[in-house]
Amino acid sequence: MSSTTLTQKQALAFATPAFIALLPFLGACLYILRFSLSAEKGSIDGVSLQAYRDLMTPFFGRSVWLTLKLAFVASAVVMLLAVPLAFLLTSLRSAAARRLLTVTILLPMILNLLVQAYGWILLLGPSGALNTLLKTLGLIDRPLFLLFNETGVLLGLIQTSLPLAVFPIVGAVRAVSPEHLEAASSLGAGHWRILRDVTLPLLRPPLVGAASIVFAFNASAFAIPLLLGGRRVQMMGVAIRDMISPLFNWSGAAAAGTVLILLTVLVLVVSAWLVRITTQKTGG
């Protein structure tokens, strides 16, 4: 063992502060889990599985399906946009251009969601700029409905989670050693081939990592379906909010939250596992 490999004790010492910071969260998790098993709806009292049993309705099932579907599609599109953005960001030579692009990508995290939704309505609403333009050009008779449905929610999810994907990928792209690429290039491989055979395989773990984060983030979204889905797109986050606030079914919300978390964690674990076995294969 060289001196730079950590002993278990050292590793633990290095990790302890982060655990302490995470402690309130773990407390909250246990609290939620306990609440989901409560026999009462508004307080923790007794033990019962009733809250989970109450979730077994076709409506909740559809909500789960819709949540997973939208989160998945949004993650796929985000990755399709994030990788080129990361390539662009790392290849810009001018520092000013790099700063500008960085800030632009971060914008969706900064601006109040209500105000952003307002921006989208002005652009894509039934009488927004786009529909007006298409109508004037005579391309459509009736407005295109791009908001207040699944399309609107997808757009919002993509927009808000894009920064989450771009920056980890930028970090990973920086770490790709140029020698690999130059070697491939000197062998006469075209850009698409290098991308397929060299860059993407090298980037696979961070790419899957970024996609998982985006997926998890989107699966728990609630403000976007509320504002851009016109409340018509019943994702689980919205269902949970409804249970908390007007229905005061806190144990039900805790149960639904637990189900959502378990599902997301399952997806994360499976994708991490897939990365492991595929990289082992290509590595071997």
């Binding site: 982060a18 946009l81 290849s91 914008l107 105000v115 921006g119 771009v166 491939a184 983030f217 991490a272």
Partner: protein, 280 residues
């Protein structure tokens, strides 16, 4: 040179596709902000895009909000902004201080442990925020302690941990063990080697983490909505009570102002940590 990732010239369909997708990404990120910014310069008080004339009158309103005493909310916009800033700085400091050593331990530790830990520290991201908000509120209320600012700061630290850790970890990826070993062979103690060699190399990742922590904490709404009190409230909460009543151009002007404040903070952190012309 990154020529192979995005060729500066030639490259045909590859270059075109990458650029096209990247511009689509930029468009999706920036369009609503652009519209809102344009609208905030509108000369009339009714909305409608694009506006018929332009003026700075709404920015005058915003300036007045900050200068005059404001009775429309529990806390004035100045107090809320200061509280938000203070919380964001605390959150930045704590989250980075705990994540750098953890990232180091994970990068140098066992792979299996690392996967598990990464997952554990991703969890705050997975939780529906409303649920987390009410849980934190119920716990805080049952503690019978006056937590003051920490009511909001502690949940914020939790929220930013996944981002800060990810960034630190990806920074650690590129740092090989050999560099440290070289430092140690030159007589540095292992801790010294980490501090003098590894941490500076992680700078870009640390910086990215700091900026994420800053932005997320400064703009966080959902959990803060449950946790704020009359005495400790933040700018997004103040902003919320405005936007619900109306989306007049002065609210938009205020949004643009907040974006400007965020950008300023980002640049400031960038300068402080990275020195001149690094990373961003």
């Amino acid at each position: 040179m990154r020529i192979a990732l995005l060729p500066t010239e030639a490259g045909g369909s590859y270059r075109l596709t990458i650029l096209l997708l990247a511009s689509l990404g930029v468009l999706v990120s920036a369009l609503p902000v652009l519209v809102v910014t344009i609208m905030s310069f509108s000369a009339s008080d009714t909305s409608g895009f694009p506006p018929e004339g332009y003026s700075l009158r709404w920015y005058g309103d915003v300036a007045r909000m900050f200068l005059e005493e404001d009775t429309s909310s529990a806390q004035s916009v100045v107090d809320s902004t200061l509280t938000s800033l203070l919380i964001a700085v605390i959150v930045m400091g704590i989250s980075t201080a705990v994540c750098v050593p953890l990232a180091y331990a994970l990068a140098r530790g066992q792979r299996r442990v690392r996967a598990g830990m990464e997952l554990l520290f991703t969890l705050p991201l997975v939780f529906p925020l409303v649920m987390l908000g009410i849980a934190f509120l119920l716990i805080a209320e049952s503690l019978a302690l006056d937590l003051g600012l920490w009511r909001i700061a502690i949940p914020h630290v939790v929220l930013v941990l996944p981002f800060v850790l990810r960034n630190c970890l990806s920074a650690m990826n590129g740092i090989s063990v050999e560099i440290e070993e070289a430092a140690i062979s030159l007589g540095a103690s292992p801790l010294r080697a980490i501090w003098d060699v590894v941490v500076p190399l992680m700078r870009a990742g640390i910086l990215a983490g700091l900026i994420f922590a800053l932005i997320i904490s400064f703009n966080e709404f959902t959990i803060t909505f449950f946790m704020y009190t009359i005495d400790v409230s933040t700018l997004p909460i103040w902003m919320y009570s405005r936007t619900v009543s109306s989306l007049d151009p002065s609210t938009l002007a205020l949004s643009v102002f907040i974006i400007a404040a965020d950008v300023l903070l980002i640049v400031l952190v960038d300068r402080l940590i990275a020195g001149k012309g690094n990373l961003f």
